[in-house]
Symmetry: none
Subunit: 250 residues, 2 copies
């Protein structure tokens, strides 16, 4: 079975986890569903023994190989698809998929693309800023509007759905997506231009940028397409320079 091969491209990225036991539990979940890699961002002082107590010996090697990072941007930049899980459904945070609805697409993509499954800290979850980094935002359905899932239980559901779906999905070819670094570079360039031409309000540039990001995430851009869009932006910038020689000094 090639399930193993597919999920090798999946990394669980835990942003600012508070309790080492939860990280250990996540490692155990990961192992059960053929995922070997965990990154921890913004929490450097988690007790390894407390993690291993919950990972059990069965997943202790995953705990030992955890990659620690201080900066989320840096941590996410090599990935070609980022899935965030959130319970809070603010209007700026969606659109939201259920894990089951997201799984087929993720399973297909994971064959040829590195995927980060991103989880926020136990108490507050992912911030709006973190959610904006995600190509796909998933919400686990629960009985009540106010939900309170343990971090490792949320990870369990995501890993489980992806695993079950991967085991059923025949390998389809999905072209390599642009990396998060490529996309963020493009967004930065677009934002700068839209500020300059007065489309974005400098007081709150992220309002329309969030819509645009969402729209562009949905296209699943390839590296080449990112280059096309950046080429348009560069050309526009060049053209504005021609028309307005004082522009760069403004």
């Amino acid at each position: 079975m090639d399930v193993k091969a597919k999920l090798e491209n999946v990394t669980l990225v835990l942003s600012r986890p508070k309790y080492p036991g939860n990280v250990g539990s996540v490692a155990r979940c990961a192992r059960n569903f053929g995922i070997d890699r965990i990154m921890v961002v913004g929490s450097n002082s988690l007790d390894p023994e407390a993690m291993k107590q919950m990972s059990t010996h069965f997943a202790a090697d995953i705990v030992e190989k955890i990659i620690y990072s201080k900066d989320l941007d840096e941590a996410l930049s090599p990935f070609r698809h980022i899935v965030g899980t959130t319970a809070r459904k603010g209007s700026a945070r969606g659109p939201f998929l259920s894990p089951r609805d997201a799984a087929p697409h993720l399973a297909e993509m994971s064959a040829n693309n590195t995927i980060a499954m991103l989880f926020g800290p136990e108490d507050a979850g992912l911030t709006n800023e973190e959610i904006r980094r995600c190509h796909t935002v998933v919400t686990i359905p629960t009985a009540d509007a106010f939900r309170s899932l343990n971090l490792s239980h949320a990870a369990m559901i995501l890993c489980y759905e992806l695993f079950v779906c991967s085991a059923e999905t025949p390998q389809a070819f999905t072209p390599a997506q642009a990396t998060s670094r490529e996309l963020e570079g493009m967004f930065g360039q677009i934002k700068e231009l839209l500020l300059e031409i007065g489309f974005l309000n400098p007081e709150n540039p992220d309002y329309w940028m969030t819509h645009l990001r969402r729209l562009l995430f949905r296209i699943r851009l390839t590296s080449r397409e990112v280059k096309i869009i950046r080429g348009i932006c560069r050309q526009l910038s060049w053209y504005l320079d021609q028309k307005n020689p004082d522009r760069k000094n403004a």
Copy 2:
């Protein structure tokens, strides 16, 4: 929605659990999926505070209302259907269903029948004798033949599958997509601008436009999103006018 009503008939029965934290975690899972009742069989001395620490206040009342029983026969006797979960697939223990395959039947049945979902102790799981009491035996699929699931994670998957299956109603909401007319208007506007700024070759403007159209079709834009993109184009056009008053007469 009648999900709540259906799952009111479901009780999680934990046979000989060793760690109070796990029982608390199970209570939290139960609450998230609309299940309010837990029975604990053969473990009378679990520390309530340790349980509540893991249940959180969110499910503390479930912990308080746990029914303790010494005898499994007695505990199971009122239920109309018993589902056991096991990782060990001895020949005398099956036939085994996946949680997903078992869920539709259980969801349907739970409307009018009390159901016990039975879990064994953390280390050894359900005995052959306990498995024999089960109408349905479920095994959670994992990556390796040797699996090691935390008790509360196993309960999480079972509750989740039953909940999702119970909640499933034909309510697929797809937002209205932009009409072809709206899209073509947008493409025309984009093409004009890209010609003006020199991104498109006037000899063969459709070369890059075809790439862009394909890319934009893939997003399945809504009418509102078409308006956003056209607003950007209009703003850009206005800005170019400011910089180059002769533009329109050119």
